[in-house]
């Protein structure tokens, strides 16, 4: 199988090479803004470097990738937002199959077989895709390869009829430790009555050396926190060693985002909340009473 890979994020692009090597030879497409990281690329057969196009140009990328894809059976993209935006468009241009956010992939009898989460995390769909196939790969599932020097071939950018013009682009401020890389996460939900009370969660996270994440309503509806810290199927999917869920009921969209956590603790006043079925340890108690005591006791241990 010949595999073409591309991601706007170089970190994810390196993961795609590993995913693609399970299927065959990988060519990695790189854009002008990514050239500075060309030496980090290992394990691909070749790099296709397009100096005439930047990774912000979605319309151009649809054209470029669709054009290149004639020579490949499989196109791999990343499951970040810009990657997912491309999947359906490129697949349809090729008259091919598509799937997003796949966690495993293999070739059987000339078909690509992938697994992906569906029904808000309640099921895994095993799907058979006809070729050509365009898929996005779940973040963090594959480690970047460490060996194998690729050859580099420069390619030209196609001419594109412009219908989308970017009139403003602002880089978002970076959060400290990204949630999906954190070892310890404290996740907060609607059980907190006001924004100021979140300090109880931050104090707990501090003493544990962890970070604070939130359910979608807390960030989206109440706007108490940045959207980078939403946990869930449309936000960040996390896989920490320890997750402490405080004052969240455990709606399906959230539950799907925490499935890969190693140990889950839930604190909630409602003993019937679904979160207790998703937890290893449940504390049926008012967070306002429990959190300060837990934090104090942890401080005592850590302090001496």
């Amino acid at each position: 199988m010949k595999v073409l890979a591309f991601s706007h994020s170089m970190d994810l692009a390196l993961e795609l090479i590993s995913a693609g090597r399970e299927l065959g030879d990988v060519s990695l497409l790189m854009t002008s803004d990514q050239e500075g990281r060309i030496n980090e690329v290992k394990g691909a057969k070749e790099i296709l470097l397009c100096k005439g196009m930047g990774s912000g140009d979605q319309e151009g990328l649809v054209e470029l990738i669709s054009g290149l894809a004639d020579d490949y059976e499989i196109v791999l993209l990343a499951s970040d937002r810009r990657g997912r935006e491309l999947v359906g468009q490129v697949a349809h241009r090729l008259g091919g199959s598509s799937a997003v956010d796949v966690s495993s992939l293999s070739v059987e009898d000339g078909k690509l077989v992938v697994e992906r989460m569906t029904f808000g995390g309640k099921a895994i769909a095993v799907e058979e895709l006809g070729l050509p196939a365009v898929i996005s790969v779940q973040k963090g599932k594959f480690k970047p390869p460490e060996e194998g020097e690729p050859s580099v071939r420069e390619i030209s950018a196609p001419s594109v009829e412009r219908r989308i013009e970017i009139i403003e682009r602002k880089e978002k401020p970076k959060v400290g430790v990204p949630l999906d890389k954190a070892e310890i996460v404290v996740a907060v939900g609607r059980g907190f009555r006001k924004k100021e009370d979140l300090k109880l969660a931050y104090e707990l996270a501090d003493v544990l050396g962890g970070v604070v994440g939130a359910t979608r309503p807390l960030a989206a509806d109440l706007k108490w926190m940045e959207e980078e810290v939403w946990i869930g199927i449309s936000g960040v999917r996390i896989a920490p060693k320890l997750l402490i869920v405080v004052g969240a009921s455990g709606q399906q969209q959230f539950a799907a985002g925490i499935m890969d956590s190693k140990v889950v603790v839930a604190v909630n006043t409602d003993s019937k909340a679904p979160i207790f079925e998703q937890a290893d340890y449940g504390v049926v108690m008012d967070l306002y009473e429990f959190l300060p005591v837990l934090t104090r006791k942890l401080k005592e241990i850590k302090g001496g």
């Binding site: 970040d80 895994i124 769909a125 499935m259 207790f276 009473e289």
Partner: protein, 257 residues
């Protein structure tokens, strides 16, 4: 300017029962509804229509079978969005639609949209499958530009100004109409229809059409598995002091403290 809103008949995943031991997924028993983010797309369409004139129509292609129960639910889901202020709805239903992948459905929907609408609004993902593939494929099928993850939309003459949120950037883009735009839940707060609006919605035009697959699917679902998530579900008892101590002890034994 007439606007089409793609409304999926989504399985209500919160109500979907799965059996960890047998691996059975009770799809037939689960109710279906209009997905939450599609209510945001509907709200945005109604706001744009109120400002600019023209019609806003819901389009649904039902993929969970065409039993009496599913027909009733599909009509209820459409009544819900009509009550929010849409002018009418198209419901496409029939045998074989449940085997249709996004390739087939995009082809089937394109005929309902081309030449009739200038703007298509959709959700960033459906509630049950959350792939977000359909609006992207529909745009490619129509040959229209596609912008996903909109958090604000403004129509300015022949263009739409879309603000969108990506992982690392905030972007404002100007898109030439006709176009397909998918929205996130942050774009607005969907209105809750009053009873009188729901009564009125039942009298709005709902055009039901038979589905016939225009092409063969490119994808087959081989199997649906129930993921094994084995949690200990231990309830920590005692007063606040005891519970905190017991929890710390347990986490030490797990080796995570």
């Amino acid at each position: 300017m007439d606007i089409a809103v793609l409304v999926k008949q989504s399985l209500d995943v919160q109500e979907l029962r799965v059996d960890q031991d047998t691996g059975k997924i009770y799809i037939e028993d689960a109710p279906t509804k209009a997905g939450d983010i599609e209510l945001n797309a509907t709200e945005e369409a109604v706001r744009l229509k109120e400002k600019l004139g023209g019609k806003a129509i819901a389009i649904m292609l039902s993929t969970w079978g065409s039993s009496g129960k599913r027909q009733k639910e599909a009509r209820e889901a459409l009544t819900r969005v009509l009550a929010m202020g849409l002018d009418g709805a198209v419901l496409i239903m029939g045998e074989g639609a449940e085997k249709g992948d996004t390739y087939v459905i995009a082809k089937a929907l394109a005929g309902e949209i081309r030449d009739k609408f200038r703007l298509v609004l959709a959700a960033e993902g459906s509630e049950d499958n959350f792939s977000g593939l359909l609006p992207a494929r529909l745009a490619a099928e129509l040959g229209w530009p596609y912008v996903a993850y909109a958090t604000a939309i403004e129509v300015e003459g022949d263009y739409v100004k879309v603000t969108r949120s990506l992982e690392d950037f905030e972007e404002v883009v100007k898109v030439k109409l006709p176009a397909v735009i998918s929205v996130t839940q942050e774009i607005n707060k969907p209105r809750v229809p009053k009873l009188v609006e729901i009564v009125k919605a039942k009298k709005k035009p709902m055009d039901q059409k038979d589905f016939s697959p225009p092409v063969e699917p490119k994808l087959v679902i081989r199997e649906l598995k129930v993921p094994k998530v084995e949690r200990k579900q231990i309830v920590i008892e005692g007063d606040v002091e005891e519970a905190a101590e017991k929890l710390i002890q347990a986490l030490k034994e797990e080796g995570v403290l």
